[in-house]
Symmetry: C2
Subunit: 229 residues, 2 copies
DNA sequence: GAGTTGCCTTGATCTAGGTCAAGCGCATGC
DNA sequence: GCATGCGCTTGACCTAGATCAAGGCAACTC
């Protein structure tokens, strides 16, 4: 890793490293790689040995699985600024990535060696606590995700997504889709066809208005009622 | 907590406490309760303030959510020997339980104060690591659960469950259902009717044999093929 | 014994959402 | 220009599983 000072500056922006001192950061930087990936490129594949975890500086990335019959299920969309794959670190020595990681948009990724971080962690309980907090948050998101998948219909999930994206209390609110509708469909676990139909149904009911990737929420209260939120 | 020596002996059996010394255990025991609950009794309800986490000494417990229309989705079945609700500890000061916890079978539960454990954790990085490992495992279980819910059919999920319960490499293997079929259905996110039909279909195909809550897996290879595992 | 209650099964029907197929709009490249 | 390709939409079907409804059966209580 060159440009040490700059790199340290960057690292400070990562929540996981916030509690570390100069020496600890230096230790981690020794084994850190910074990689530029183009859209479509793979960072790692399901089943590969997990020896690093990552921070996405820029770009967009998806973590997904492929079932035996070839269907793709997106587990998580990673945005710039997020860390990911840090959980596997504690699963034992020779663990493997349980998902594929592929760039949706090109960008820059920082790759940290598990071994180095492991060593540093031993010296900082505060960092342990931050890590624990982050994982708790994710755990809760998953509980919500499981609930969404089992207890909600496709329409409810779509509305749910729109409400989450929208600024609260703005009426009419505007939502810009940062991903293609195909990708969104995969994230909501429905087919592109169903997503398309759902949008047009909501539009015909006067609840939303669609202009390409921009969606206006015309009747937030009506949407809420429809999704029973 | 009375019978200090006995209690310490018990605590040693809990993985989370394995690395703690006498003084730390004593500190935790000061605020520990041991409760006996009967079948159907609630330990805590969704939305209650989370001030404790738990270890199930004996009995069976379910963690579940209820949707606005009254459907129940089981997030996790907790068996004797497991700890649970320890993740919420790190969600911040006044966090709340995100699920209901209700006994399926009566049993004994140990209740530990988050605050005490928090303090002790600051002195034991090893215990932090254990906690991190446990949460990582749970995180992965949830990822798998999400996959199961989205990529698999009801029949596949049922077979999947049976295979997980069965001893590996025993043929024919026997599975004993520790819960009612209604509860199992809720766990697999299907209706009791569908579960019943699925069992009879598999039985008619000669793949399994049902005797009440005991199920014999007659053709493990055939089941595997059917579920595409 | 008869009645009640809870769990399970079975059958008949309904429906949300998936699948398949065709076509549209818009970009890119030659 | 025209072709190729990709994202998106629409329509016509189909199927897995939910829903509704009616028993069956075993464990109780009286």
């Amino acid at each position: 890793m060159q440009h040490h000072a700059e790199a340290v500056q960057m690292l400070r922006r990562i929540a996981l490293f916030a509690e570390l001192d100069e020496a600890q950061l230096a230790k981690i930087l020794e084994t850190t790689q910074r990689r530029e990936l183009t859209a479509g490129e793979f960072l790692f594949m399901q089943g590969e040995g997990a020896e690093q975890f990552f921070w996405l500086e820029s770009g967009l990335l998806k973590l997904y699985r492929v079932s035996p019959i070839g269907e793709e299920k997106i587990i998580e969309i990673v945005r710039a600024g997020q860390t990911f794959a840090e959980a596997i670190m504690f699963m034992g020595q020779r663990s493997r990535y349980p998902v594929n990681a592929q760039m949706i948009e090109g960008g820059v990724i920082w790759c940290f060696a598990n071994a180095s971080f492991h060593e540093v962690l031993r010296g900082s309980v505060d960092t342990c606590f931050r890590l624990l907090a982050g994982m708790s948050r994710r755990l809760h998101q998953h509980v919500n995700e499981i609930e969404r998948l089992t207890l909600q219909t496709a329409t409810e999930r779509v509305i749910n997504y729109l409400m989450q994206q929208a600024e609260p209390s703005v009426n009419p609110a505007n939502v810009h889709l940062p991903i293609t509708k195909q990708t969104l469909a995969a994230q909501l676990s429905i087919t592109p066809e169903t997503l398309s139909r759902t949008f047009t149904r909501l539009a015909k009911a006067g609840l939303i208005e669609i202009r390409g990737n921009d969606i206006a929420l015309l009747d937030v209260e009506g949407l809420r009622r429809k999704a029973m939120l």
